[in-house]
């Protein structure tokens, strides 16, 4: 098991980008794929895409981001890749439904961002679960839903 207690930099940083690019061509970069919602953890265990176990224990003020370089050796690097977060866009068909939807989304503590006429919900479970909850609240016929494509998701 590899213990990581600091982030060495980002794969786009000067001095790292060229070296990692070269290493990628030689197949010596491993990826630690993490869901976006898990990035706030400072201590966790995870497996790289090659099955190596990594134990991460970072200072509280050390951010973990997409591209964080956790290990850099002459013939091996480990880099964080963040799984794109999935967002479900909810568009109410009228004002009364919008108020009702806002009330329920708040009550359910769903994590959201607001668009002009829609609410976008970050999915932390199966999409079907969210649709089922809307149906149980009688909102499924009055709210249009659409799963955003990765290139539409917020940064």
């Amino acid at each position: 098991m590899l213990l990581v207690d600091r982030v060495l930099g980002n794969r786009l940083d000067d001095g790292l980008a060229d070296r990692l690019h070269h290493m990628e061509h030689h197949g010596t970069v491993e990826w630690l794929v993490l869901p976006a919602a898990e990035l706030a953890r400072r201590r966790f265990r995870a497996l790289t895409n090659r099955g190596a176990e990594v134990a991460v224990a970072l200072p509280r003020d050390e951010p973990l981001t997409d591209g964080a370089v956790l290990l850099l050796e002459p013939d091996r690097a480990i880099v964080v890749r963040v799984d794109a977060e999935r967002w479900l866009r909810l568009t109410p068909l009228d004002l009364a439904t919008a108020l009702e939807l806002g009330y329920h989304v708040g009550n359910l503590h769903w994590r959201v961002r607001f668009e002009a006429t829609s609410i976008e919900v970050a999915l932390e479970g199966p999409e079907e679960t969210y649709r089922a909850r809307l149906a149980a609240l009688g909102l499924d016929t009055r709210v249009e839903t659409r799963l955003l494509q990765p290139d539409e998701a917020p940064c």
Binding site: D5, D13, G15, A40, R41, R42, L58
Partner: protein
């Protein structure tokens, strides 16, 4: 953009912080009892420990732990939520973060800080800005339908503890079915049965927690 050399020149001023573990769950499920049972087990394993408790408008749980004789009273801090308990562990956990930071300053060698939430409902969850890993405690006497209700607390926690297993025959609960349903809704995430008052299952909880956050 910073470079690798910049980072190296900056030295290792930051150090891996103490692990922070949340313990939440409904009122009366046995959160404080679990902590009381965990403290000696963690001490046996050589873990340098502190605790932050959360109550609505009192410091009842902190005072209970301080009087227990199980832990140095100075190592127990209290946060008064003043509102719904989940607000200070999820929406705005700054009071708890500050309490943890303060304990780390006072006890520089502390390795693990437990954060006990005030009793809440099945929707209660911890912010990962506050804790690295969290336990949700439910109890047999609360009803064997709790796992089926799929509350966010039971679904999202890193470890689900079903406490008061000894009470199952007295409250008409089919414990094997309750455990089976809990495992079904949680996929591969762990479920552990405990009787915190008598210590059953507590060592397994401690080992699971330590494996997850202390290396």
């Amino acid at each position: 953009m910073s470079t690798l050399d910049d980072r190296a020149a900056g030295g290792a001023e930051g150090r891996a912080a103490a692990a922070r573990v949340g313990i939440g769950g409904p009122v009366g499920s046995g959160k404080t009892a679990l902590i009381e049972a965990l403290i000696p087990v963690l001490h046996e394993r050589g873990v340098d420990l502190a605790v932050v408790t959360n109550d609505l408008v009192t410091r009842e749980d902190a005072e209970r732990l301080r009087r227990s004789g199980l832990i140095d009273p100075q190592r127990v801090s209290a946060v008064e939520a003043g509102a719904c308990p989940h607000t200070v562990i999820r929406e705005d956990p700054t009071l708890n973060i500050a309490a943890g930071d303060e304990l780390e300053v006072r006890f520089p060698g502390v390795e693990l800080i437990l954060f006990e939430s005030g009793g809440d409902n099945l929707a209660s969850t911890f912010s990962l800005d506050l804790v690295d890993w969290w336990i949700f405690v439910i109890d047999v006497a609360g009803g064997d339908d709790i796992p089926r209700k799929k509350g966010p607390g039971t679904l999202r926690c890193d470890l689900l503890v079903i406490n008061k297993q000894d009470l199952a025959p007295h409250v008409g609960v089919a414990l094997p079915r309750m455990v089976e349903e809990a495992r079904a809704v949680r996929g591969q995430r762990p479920v552990i049965l405990t009787d915190a008052r008598r210590g059953a299952g507590v060592a397994e909880v401690a080992d699971t927690m330590l494996k997850a956050v202390l290396f």
